[in-house]
């Protein structure tokens, strides 16, 4: 009888899925309320509750969960950030990733539409919004996950050290523009993005006192001219669309000098389209916004680059468990 014998297969993976959902939302709630930013010094639960106008009973339980998660420590009745909490979740700290947490968990709202879209087929039919939280989140993602890996790959390219003019197309926050300018001080680096994003980038870059080193170009790369005479065009996490991808890559090709390179840094999906997990789920939820969005495979990028005229296409695998990015490089001969 079933209720006299247990199943041979452990159900723990199912429980883990449930608890990861709960923890993610709880962390997001704590970040949105700025709890870690307030817990840089030891405090009792009721003190924090008074500060943030939270229910004292639930505040204490929340802090206990954060302790059990390793994000806080508890000594007697007092709570304080752990090293991890202090390093990554205190607003204003160098390695703060609170906005990245917010946009990651915030994508939950998109998946809420999954059942409806499965049923009626029509997607949300809207563009991807790049508000301040989105842009900060993407900047934090670049800084904490990818920047070193991307930069190390690019620094090894002879085309980079010889480059005099570099374009960071759809460069958003400007983290890569700054890194490229620092790594090759003799190059002129231009950041191209939509006008509202450019305003943000100017402000963000000025915090690092790098605004004098970057040129800013406002426009829509789908429709506007992106300029010419570049030795390198860098494109990071921008080309998750399918319909006009060939025309954009052709535009990039035309903007490059002979001997120039395009460097594409994106989350890639495997040819089977069932791995890696982060890319597959990203591919699902951006498809809910529009059928025109999706993750590409390396072979797809390879083919489109060749169709656009690029040669000597090469790939750098810089995937990590949380950021399955690969760099695809094409040369204009």
């Amino acid at each position: 009888m079933d209720c006299q014998k247990t199943s041979k297969v452990n159900s723990k993976p199912i429980d883990d899925i449930i608890y990861r959902y709960r923890l993610a939302h709880m962390l997001n709630a704590a970040v949105e309320k700025g709890i870690f930013t307030r817990m840089t010094v030891p405090k009792k639960a009721h003190q924090l509750a008074e500060e943030i106008h939270y229910d004292p009973r639930t505040t204490e339980k929340l802090l206990n969960v954060l302790v059990a998660s390793g994000l806080m420590i508890k000594s007697g009745e007092e709570y304080q950030n752990s090293l991890v909490g202090q390093t990554f979740l205190v607003d204003g700290e160098q390695n703060y990733i609170g906005n990245l947490v917010r946009i990651t968990v915030g994508s939950n709202a998109l998946l809420d539409h999954l059942n409806d879209i499965l049923k009626n087929g029509s997607t949300l039919q809207r563009g991807i919004d790049f508000d301040r939280v989105q842009l900060l989140g993407h900047a934090e993602g670049a800084l904490c996950e990818e920047l070193d890996l991307v930069l190390n790959s690019i620094k090894g390219m002879p085309e980079f050290s010889h480059a005099k003019r570099i374009l960071d197309l759809g460069g958003g926050h400007g983290v890569y523009s700054m890194a490229l300018a620092q790594s090759n001080p003799s190059a002129i680096v231009a950041l191209f993005d939509q006008p509202n994003v450019i305003e943000f980038a100017k402000e963000f870059i000025s915090k690092y006192e790098m605004d004098g080193k970057i040129r800013f170009i406002s426009g829509d790369f789908n429709t506007d001219d992106i300029g010419t005479g570049y030795d390198m065009v860098f494109v990071s996490h921008v080309l998750y669309l399918s319909s006009n991808l060939p025309s954009i890559l052709r535009k990039i090709y035309n903007s490059l000098n002979n001997g120039g390179t395009v460097v594409l840094n994106h989350w890639m999906i495997d040819d089977c389209r069932t791995s890696p997990r982060v890319s597959v789920i990203f591919d699902l939820y951006i498809s809910l916004i529009s059928r025109d969005y999706g993750c590409h495979t390396v072979s797809e990028f390879n083919e489109i680059l060749r169709d656009a005229g690029f040669e000597d296409v090469s790939v750098f695998d810089i995937r990590t468990p949380h950021s399955p990015s690969m760099i695809v490089v094409g040369l204009k001969k």
Partner: protein, 343 residues
Amino acid sequence: MQIADGYQDLQIMYSALQYDIFTQLSEAPETAKGISEKNGTDPFITEKLLNALVSIDLLFKCDGEYHNTELSEIYLSKKSPYYQGDYIDTQKLISFGTSSYGDWAEIGKALEKGYIPPSKEGFRLYEKIFSLSMKEMAIRGEAQKTAEILSQYPWFKDAKRMIDIGGTHGLYSIALLAKNPKLEGTLFDIPGVPELGNAPEHFKQYGVSDRIRIQNGNFFIRTDIGSGYDLAFISNVYFLGTADDLLDNIFAALNVNGRFVLKNSVIRKDRKGPLISSLLDLDMCFWGKKHQLFSVDECIDLIEPHGFEIENVNMLEGCCLGAIAILVLKKGELDGLSKNLEG
């Protein structure tokens, strides 16, 4: 970031459960087109959903067809006796759906406002899904493990009458009856709840209908739940701090030297974990004003004054509700009041 991106898998699994994809694939493997046609869903998004299910190891793909993995075949197909779909449904909600709040995505709002008594419509404790969820939690292993542990005690082998308080689905009763052929049982619960939990069907299914009866009543308040029992069993009492009436009811129902067995989620005394227990303790805030988890020692301190003496504590490993303790307490000769007067 490992914590932050953890929400996605449940959303994906939940959608697949809503369309009962795992039960369909249990019958035969299928292509994305086939699944989409069967369910009348958009083929483009269906394929992406199926691929996402592969990426989280709930399906695998072979020659263009999607198959259940061993895990999903056992726990996510309605054809399996260990199906967990209703449990997952309630786990997505704050306090298993017993609170005024909805999905765990609303936890920020809940943390701010704390406990709010739920409206009658919002309260799901006596709904079928809640009862099924409790059944699914029990059948995945907790009922079997609990019965196995208790069957090792000499007193259990001699027990003749048992009462399963708040037993809902009856699976703990069935598992205990199977371990002692001389045992007869009473499932005591709120009127209508055993039916919601399909207890009568379960008793028939497992051939114990002639050894167990259902008795209705409100065990939360001081009431006569019967007498002459050698074993009183209860599971998951999250209001132990205010369970005086319940504990007195149990004392009155047991024979002298009878055993009271409480199977409960527990937390460390310093509240620093384990993590699942801490999360459950937080979740309980929204269920009731006095609902919470206690440590093993705190449980004992709350129960013993009602005339019981702790005999044994066993821990259940790998349970869905975190650390679970099985406390075995022996009824003494004096009830709580007399004990206090004597003291």
